[in-house]
Every structure is written in structure tokens, then in C-alpha cells.
Amino acid sequence: MFEYCADPKTLEGLTWLSCYLTTGKHFLFYQSFVFVVVLMLVTAPIALAVGFAGALASRSHVAPVRWLGVGYTSIVRGVPDIAFFLFMPLALDQGLEWLRHKWKCPDWTEAVRQGSDFVVCAQAKLPLSSSPQWVHEYYGVALGMSAFAFVFGAFAAYVLAGAMNAVPRAQMETAEAYGMTRRQATWRILVPQMWVYALPGLSNLWLILIKATPLLFLLGIEDVVFWARELGGRKTNAYDYPHPDWRLWYFLALLVFYLVLTRVSEIGFARLSRRLSRGQATMAGMEEART
């Protein structure tokens, strides 16, 4: 990046380090940090939406819908999340391809599963083999994100269901007394009031989501872990910047990154909860009024 970096072999000390840390590959490494943050910001609302649907489903009066909601949350809770991260992208990919295969090639006679192969017709491939490289990459990321949304949706559903139950019963009874239907009462009374009760659980979920992001590495996505291993590995003299095995330092940097992210989120949530408890008839609300 700097002009004096033209011949790295002649440099030493801090100048060497400044050149080393600004190579093209290092910029890709820094980008992956941004990628992690963006990914979380995109996934969190999706997971929240999935969780909201799950929470509503587990309160439904229609039995099959309720079973679906309850089954979803309890199965995800009982199984290690990493198993879902490995299972979901593959399952989703095959499921989508199979559906497209049924739709696009109805007169295909051969079985889709042949031994250890999964064969669909060329038009049903996802993404199409003719599509550019970036489509393939983003498709992988999207599959990974859906796995996150699925797992964290289940936890969010549990938290939100708890929050819905925490809204005082009298509120709902008053709504009924005013002649609101069940649907109206849910949307106008229950949903606006439940967020205060949901906040501790949701903030905790956010912290867990942060800590789950390095698992993306397992899906073959070039994330922070990938680059830390790539850049930290021993570089021989054939490279511009030879160095011994520095992976320990790179992982230490990742550790610090995640600690900072956690700390910042904790402070943010503390502020938000102070803000939300303003005017509430709780201990926190009274303390807020005093200051």
C-alpha cells in the first residue's frame, strides 16, 4: 500500500510491520470482520421474525399448528446447534433442487438418489452452472444464514412465548371486555407490551448469535477464522513476508474482537433496557424516575 513497501525483503521493524499489515490479503481479512457484523445485523431480524412466527404458532388454537411450533422449539433446543449448521445448508440445498426438479423436469424418469449421488436435471441445479462465481458464493452464504435463522428462530420463539405469557392477564381480559376479537387483542395489546419482558432473553440471544458466527467457517465461507488460519500459518522465504507460525496471535486478535463486540453489545442493551423501563411500574422504572 505504501510506496516504501515495494521491496519488503529490505524492510525491518515497524516499517516491515506496517507493510505486512496492509497487504491485499490483510485487507480481505479486515473485510471479513465487517462481513461478520453485517451478517449478524441481517440474520438477527430474520431470526426474530421466525421466532415471532414460532411463538404465535405455539400459542395457536389450531392443534397441528401448535404442535409444529412446540416441536420446532423443543427439537432445536435438544440437539447441538452445530449439527444444524452442518445439516441445514445441505438439506435446504437438496430440498430446493428437488422441488425445482419436480417442477422443471416432470418427465424425468430416473431416481433422484442414485447410491451416493444426488442427481437432478441441469435446469434444476441451484445455482445454475452457467451463473457467475459471485452467485455461487452468495448462495452459500444465504444457506448458512438460513441455518442461523432456523436455530436462533427457535430460541427467539421460546423467549417471545415466555414474554407473551408475562404480559399481565388483566390486560388481555380488559381487551376482551372492550369487545376486541382474539386477533385484535393479540396485535393491539399483547404484541406492543411484550417487548420489555422479552428484552433480557433477546439480548442474551444476540450475545449467543455473536458467539456462533465463527461457525460459518465450517460451511466453507471465507470468514475471520479462515483468514486467521490462512494468514497466520508459517510462511517460508518464497513469500514476500516470511514469518513463523503466527496463528496464535491471529486467534488472539479474533478473541479480542469478539470480546469487544460482546462488551459493546452489553453496554448497548443496558442503555436500551433503561430506556424501555422508563415509565414502567417496576423497580427499574422507579429508579429511572428518581435520577
Partner: protein, 279 residues
């Protein structure tokens, strides 16, 4: 090949007993059940030892965090913050790299009169290295739980203990510790379940599955890769883990009953696992 034969061949494959080569083609349901179940031995091993060792350290951490002296409090706070605030996955990588940097032929400790050689090679094996990471990790999480429980021990209980002439160790042993344990137990049950789930990460971080001796998820992933069909091995894994989780809830429920045995039958709280606070 009958299913009994498969179980005999592969039932203990994950710890290196039985057939050396994993099945390569024509996977049967029985093989998948047997191998994934065999891998579960590792998960149970990690979970039991990390929890047993971690229990002691976590109580110590909780007490240190509650101590008046900053020399005790600050290190405990930092330990808990570092291990709870960062991903376990990164911790595995970090510790593995640190262990591999230790000199291969051991560290020579010069004690003046004799020289001891500390073997370091075993630390890079999953069985010991990953166990250390899991132990430190669960200690931090459980330490936070027990700290919270310690802070909510009712004042009346402690005053009553003082009135009866309890002090120091006997007060802690008889009053504070049991009450703390009772209050923290549901959350600790939850933590134990999630730690058990976290053991599946071991062979997907840096720790190598030496001679294909891996845990349940390692074998499930092996089958999914070979058959390209995730719909059989992963549900089998899920089945095993749900059983394991139920087993943990049952065992911890028995302990919880024991902890609450002084209360009248009707008012005994039932252990309800609330994953509100998922780790």
C-alpha cells in the same frame, strides 16, 4: 453382515477397539446407528469430566468474585468475562495453537537437584487439550451462575445462621453453599446441557480426529459426506442427543430433589429447565 456383527465391529470404534477401516460403501442404517452411537462415548467423556472438574473451579470462581479483596475479585471477573465473552470455537483454536507451540520434546523443569521433563505432546490430542478448554469454559459459565445464586442467598438465612453461632467454614458448609447450590441448580442444569452440546465442536475445531476416532457429530458428518444424504445421519444424531439431554435432566432432577429434601412435599419446586438464558 448382521447387525450384531456390525455392533461388535464398530461399537467401540471411536476409542480404537474393533474394525480399523470405516465402512466405505453400501452404508446400512445399522452401521450409521452403531458408529454415531460409538462416537457418543467421546461426547459423554468430555461432558462428564469437564463438568466434574468445572464444578469445583466454578464454585471457587463464584466465591472469588464475591470476595471483598480486589486481588481475588478482579482475576475472577476477568476470567469469567474472557471465557463467556468469546466464542468457544475461537477458544479451541487459540488453545490448540498455544499447545502446538509448546516444545515437542517436553519442557525441562530444573528443580535444582533434579531435572524433570514435562511431556507436552498429549496436550495437542483432543482427549486432554479439548477437555482443558471445555473445563475452563464451563467453569466460567457456571461460575457466573453460582455467583448470581450466591448474591441471592436470602439475608434472613445468613442472619439466622449468625444467631445460631455459625461462622466461617461451618456457616459456608452448612448454610451458604447448600442454599447457593439450590438457587443456582436449574440454571446449572441448563448450562450442563449446553456444555454437552458444545462437546460436538471439538473435532471441528483444530483438534484432529486421530485415526478417525471422532465423536458422534464427526461420524454423522462422515456419513453425510459419503452418502451425500443428510437426512439419515443427522436425525440419528439428533435422536441420541435428545436422549442424552433427557438423561441429564433426569439426573439433575434427582439431585435437585435431594437439595430440596428439607421442604414439605407440596412446596418442593420441580426442576423446570428454562433455556431463557442459553449459555
Amino acid at each position: 453382515m448382521s447387525c450384531m456383527q456390525t455392533i461388535a465391529d464398530y461399537g467401540l470404534r471411536s476409542i480404537g477397539i474393533g474394525e480399523r477401516l470405516l465402512p466405505k460403501t453400501d452404508f446400512t442404517l445399522c452401521q450409521q446407528f452403531t458408529l454415531i452411537g460409538s462416537g457418543l462415548i467421546w461426547n459423554i467423556y468430555f461432558a462428564i469430566f469437564a463438568l466434574l472438574l468445572g464444578f469445583g473451579l466454578s464454585v471457587g470462581l463464584a466465591l472469588a468474585r464475591n470476595a471483598a479483596s480486589p486481588w481475588l475479585r478482579k482475576p475472577a471477573e476477568w476470567f469469567i468475562f474472557v471465557f463467556r465473552g468469546s466464542p468457544l470455537f475461537i477458544q479451541f483454536f487459540l488453545f490448540y495453537e498455544a499447545f502446538t507451540l509448546l516444545p515437542k520434546n517436553g519442557i525441562e523443569l530444573n528443580l535444582g537437584f533434579t531435572v524433570l521433563t514435562a511431556e507436552t505432546r498429549w496436550l495437542t490430542r483432543a482427549g486432554a487439550g479439548a477437555l482443558i478448554v471445555l473445563f475452563l469454559n464451563t467453569s466460567a459459565y457456571a461460575g457466573e451462575i453460582f455467583y448470581g445464586a450466591l448474591r441471592s442467598v436470602p439475608k434472613g438465612d445468613l442472619e439466622a445462621a449468625d444467631a445460631y453461632g455459625f461462622s466461617g467454614w461451618s456457616k459456608f458448609r452448612r448454610i451458604t453453599f447448600p442454599t447457593m447450590l439450590r438457587l443456582g441448580w436449574p440454571a446449572y442444569t441448563n448450562e450442563s446441557i449446553f456444555l454437552t452440546h458444545a462437546t460436538t465442536l471439538v473435532f471441528f475445531s483444530s483438534f484432529p480426529a486421530w485415526q478417525q476416532k471422532g465423536d458422534a457429530l464427526y461420524y454423522a458428518n462422515y456419513f453425510a459426506d459419503k452418502t451425500f444424504n443428510p437426512f439419515v445421519p443427522y436425525p440419528i444424531l439428533a435422536f441420541y442427543f435428545i436422549l442424552l439431554s433427557l438423561g441429564i435432566i433426569f439426573a439433575y432432577g434427582r439431585v435437585y430433589r435431594h437439595l430440596n429434601r428439607h421442604l414439605p412435599q407440596a412446596t418442593r419446586p420441580r426442576l423446570r429447565v428454562r433455556p431463557q438464558m442459553v449459555r
